[in-house]
């Protein structure tokens, strides 16, 4: 910061330098919203209608040189981002550019000094920050209200209500339940949501003494799934019924995993299949095989492109946010329900902003679009 002030004098001096004969200028500035090591250059044409073959860009740490060649650019170029690891943050740099035109070379006045530096805040993400802070505040407020004992209504979610029915069916048929917690890592939010429902399902299967089979794509997911199921069996008072080998690792390859699970479905004929978490192209292959095996199927994913496949092939589908709401819905914990309420209010605010945007755009104003734009 102090260095920036120190270089402000030379910078002002550089800006006061006379322009070239045709008013040509070369400007250099630190690239905003980055980790440094980058300078953005822009320049005007050497003259009105002048055809330029190429621009040769040079850089130096002194205004008098020596300058080293940085880039050779096409004649149409008028901007260049000099981003390379050779640049040192905090060091002043000078630039000059030579335009190759028909009558020879034309040299622009030297631009600089300019100091590359990393920023502590990405101004292009201000809208995201404002919304994140407002949303967090809203959620915390709703949690506080829930703590005070206010009753919060949550609409019924058919897919979650059907969980007990699905487990009961498996118990009556004497066949296992298959639970697939998606094909993504444990760090995925959808996988974490799947663990919550797995805990609930495991508790019921422990009570009803039904076998629960959980194939996994990642070993980390397998370890957490084993702990979740073990804990649920312990809570149900049936630790003896827990079989660690039923929660196993298959492979981290997408389609070999699909083939293995399809084989499992056709051999074991599970009464119920749960597909909860992140799914990709294998979703329909799994769900259709499950349908052919005669299983009742409950699916839930936040992957937009896979939702229609699950809707077509499964009995119940948790669409997008319903998967995340499951933990709050199942636990009936006021704290968790509070976060759902906060979510709903945020949704209402978004709808109002959308309406405002529609009205403004209809009347030819882009103020809402400009206010909410994000530059990454």
């Amino acid at each position: 910061m102090l260095r920036s002030w120190l270089y402000l004098g030379p910078l002002l001096f550089a800006l006061s330098l006379p322009r070239g004969a045709y008013g040509q200028t070369l400007t250099a500035a630190d690239t905003p919203n980055d980790h440094g090591k980058s300078i953005t250059l822009s320049w005007t044409n050497p003259g009105p209608g002048t055809h330029v073959d190429q621009f040769n860009l040079f850089r130096s740490i002194s205004s008098i040189g020596p300058f080293e060649s940085t880039a050779v650019l096409k004649g149409e170029a008028h901007e260049y981002v000099d981003a390379c690891e050779d640049l040192t943050n905090g060091t002043p740099y000078y630039y000059k550019i030579i335009a190759r035109i028909e009558s020879g070379d034309f040299e622009y006045p030297v631009a600089g000094p300019v100091v590359p530096e990393g920023q502590w805040f990405h101004t292009g993400k201000t809208v995201v920050l404002v919304f994140a802070v407002a949303f967090s505040f809203l959620v915390l407020l709703m949690i506080q209200r829930a703590r005070e004992g206010r009753e919060l209504y949550v609409r019924p979610i058919a897919g979650i209500d059907a969980v007990d029915e699905a487990i009961g069916r498996a118990t009556e048929m004497g066949r296992p339940i298959l639970f697939i917690p998606g094909i993504s890592e444990a760090s995925e939010v959808a996988t974490i949501a799947a663990f919550t429902i797995l805990g609930r399902v495991a508790q019921r299967t422990a009570e009803y003494q039904t076998r629960l089979v959980v194939p996994n794509v990642y070993a980390t997911v397998m370890i957490i799934a084993q702990e979740v199921v073990k804990s649920a069996y312990l809570n149900a008072g049936r630790p003896d019924a827990y079989d660690e080998k039923d929660i196993f690792y298959v492979t981290s390859e997408q389609f070999p995993f699909t083939a293995a699970v399809n084989g499992l479905m056709l051999r074991e004929k599970p009464a119920t299949n749960f597909y909860l978490g992140k799914f990709y192209a294998e979703s329909l292959i799994l769900a259709e095989t499950g349908f052919q095996a005669g299983s009742m199927q409950i699916a839930g994913t936040d992957e937009l492109t896979q939702i229609p496949f699950f809707v077509a092939a499964c009995d119940y589908t948790l669409m997008g946010e319903e998967l995340y709401a499951a933990s709050a819905y199942l636990s009936k914990d006021p704290l968790q329900l509070g976060t759902l309420k906060g979510q709903d209010i945020a949704k209402l605010i978004i709808v109002l902003v959308l309406l405002l945007g529609i009205i403004a755009t209809t009347f030819g104003s882009d103020i809402v679009t400009k206010l909410l734009s994000i530059r990454l």
Binding site: K125, Q343, K347
Partner: protein, 207 residues
């Protein structure tokens, strides 16, 4: 302590990574890079547990002569062949691992993926039955989209079917997709907040 320490660590990690999103400075980029390296290290350790689980399951299957136990030999054979091809220098230098990957694993995966076409046909057959008014609308929309996507539909309707298909895909379809996306975004943020604040602890096996 068993509850508080993981919740505290989760909060610190989540908070730092959230802040990192808004700070482009090199020091915060390094936090992100280091956390990714840690994630990979944890993943490498867990793979041993995964392989142990896989081998144990298939050995048990072979020992108890469970249904279709013969395929377990292929699984175990494939596992050890890939490990040998990647670890034994003589095999690795001859490009055995790449050969197995390109000539066996990739074609098998592509075959599984290609089955999707047939599954789409069977699922569409069930989904597009006109059992109710809503299902009929779905069926009609599907018919227009399918006809609008093939040259025959274009010729039959002089460009009307492609126009209807484009409208269906770009207007009602995109509107529904965006509505779900907004819900997903808020749901994820809400879930992340629950995990950060220790309200949601399912990943700790309900601790």
């Amino acid at each position: 302590m068993k509850k508080q320490l993981p919740v505290f660590l989760t909060f610190i990690c989540a908070f730092l990574l959230t802040v990192q999103y808004f700070v482009p400075h090199r020091s915060f980029e390094q936090i992100y890079e280091v956390s990714n390296i840690w994630l990979q290290i944890i993943g490498v350790f867990s793979i041993f547990l995964g392989i142990t689980s896989l081998v144990t399951m298939h050995v048990r299957k072979i020992r108890h002569r469970q249904r279709q136990w013969q395929y377990s030999f292929i699984t175990l054979g494939g596992l050890f062949a890939m490990v040998a091809a990647g670890l034994i220098p003589a095999l690795e230098q001859r490009g055995s691992y790449e050969w197995l990957y390109d000539h066996i694993l990739n074609p098998i995966s592509a075959t599984m993926f290609s089955l999707l076409a047939f599954f789409i046909a069977s699922a569409a057959f069930r989904a597009f039955r006109a059992r109710s008014a809503i299902a009929t609308i779905l069926l009609l929309a599907a018919v227009f989209v399918m006809l609008g996507r093939v040259p025959l539909g274009d010729r039959m309707s002089h460009g009307l079917f492609p126009a209807i298909a484009d409208w269906l895909l770009n207007v009602p379809n995109v509107a529904a997709k965006r509505a779900i996306l907004i819900g997903v975004g808020l749901g994820e943020a809400s879930m992340a907040l629950r995990v950060m604040l220790g309200i949601e602890r399912s990943y700790m096996a309900g601790e």
